[in-house]
Symmetry: C2
Subunit: 220 residues, 2 copies
């Protein structure tokens, strides 16, 4: 079972890369070196074998941080998942802020969001897998479903605004959001599952043309 998918980068690296582009970074979750080691190892393990197939001893081995330290920092095992969740959704929020500023049209924003999702998938599949498959009911009892998380509602809000503004034709906003993001999410799942072998970027233009064609108000 060889994986021919791109080498994962860690959540920490993904965040770093983002920050380096910022002039005045938003107050960010500060993490000690040990905490980062644990989160990096955990993200990789959760992605490779799943949350429940990952034991604390596994994380101890992979992170080279002791059991005691892990419990000191994260309280319990779900604390690790929570910390990852907050890290990732926080980064995503920041990225959406950037997109909102950099693009004024709804079409531009939605396309940039899809590009962002593709980019995360290619650069850090483990991060995308965590977002897609983080089942609140199973190991994030303190959190709402990922579909109602801040970044997701934000994405829907962009679409709803586009309808108000008349950039998108009159249509149920929920359906519009599904038409915009649904195909992209589907492709990215197929990519993560190894069904698609090409980098997602190669599919972006054709995907976007078709998605947007069915929704834009007139010419756009």
């Amino acid at each position: 079972m060889q994986k021919s998918r791109p080498k994962a980068i860690t959540a920490a690296e993904f965040k770093l890369q983002k920050d380096s582009a910022d002039i005045a970074p938003v107050p960010v979750l500060e993490r000690s070196a040990a905490q980062r080691k644990v989160l990096d190892a955990a993200l990789k393990l959760f992605s490779d074998v799943g949350y429940f197939n990952t034991s604390i001893p596994d994380i101890v081995r992979a992170s080279k941080v002791s059991t005691g330290s892990i419990y000191h920092h994260f309280g319990d095992k779900t604390g690790i998942a929570s910390a990852l969740f907050e890290q990732i959704t926080g980064d995503l929020q920041a990225a959406l802020d950037d997109i909102e500023i950099a693009h004024i049209t709804t079409g531009g924003r939605c396309r940039a969001i899809i590009e962002l999702m593709f980019e995360i998938t290619e650069r850090s599949p483990a991060t995308m897998e965590f977002m897609l498959y983080a089942k609140h009911k199973e190991f994030l009892p303190a959190h709402a479903p990922i579909c109602s998380s801040a970044p997701m509602t934000r994405m829907r809000d962009f679409v709803a605004l586009g309808i108000e503004r008349g950039e998108i034709r009159v249509i149920d906003p929920t359906i519009a959001a599904a038409l915009i993001y649904g195909p992209a999410i589907r492709l990215l799942q197929l990519r993560l599952d190894g069904i698609i072998e090409r980098p997602l970027f190669e599919l972006l233009d054709e995907l976007w043309d078709s998605s947007w064609r069915s929704l834009r108000a007139k010419a756009g």
Copy 2:
């Protein structure tokens, strides 16, 4: 955390309902009463709290079948998940057969498939959840990823055929399939997560018009 979603029917009932419409049913996985009780209980528990949060003693309590009998029939815990997987994908295959016969046009077939997915979601959310979230890596090691399962490839084949036939405009078949099924799957996930409160059927026409509009070759 009140769930206002439709009452679940069991996989067994879903299959039964299907069979009752058949004249000459395909050879089907025969299951004893005890086996059905176990599978019904397990499907519900897996959906409610997740596979890993469900213990064998939980299933014993819910199914009123003893530990010994469960192991006798299913070998081990993954055997229960496997049996569910085969049951559900088998039923789905049969339903796709019916659709292939009942509809000749690609548009008709794809629309019927989406309708089927919506119907399963409404009638047996647990079944749909199992299909969507059954992570082969985590608890179905013997199975390929769900995306490459027979029903899923079949769905993509319908689309590819539509392109060959000239019913769908010339476009990458993978993208075409994502454009057709992606929005529907997205809506159904939102429904399962409680974000959408209306039955999916009410969204079908508007969804389909938009999806198909971006793909049909000319007028359709």
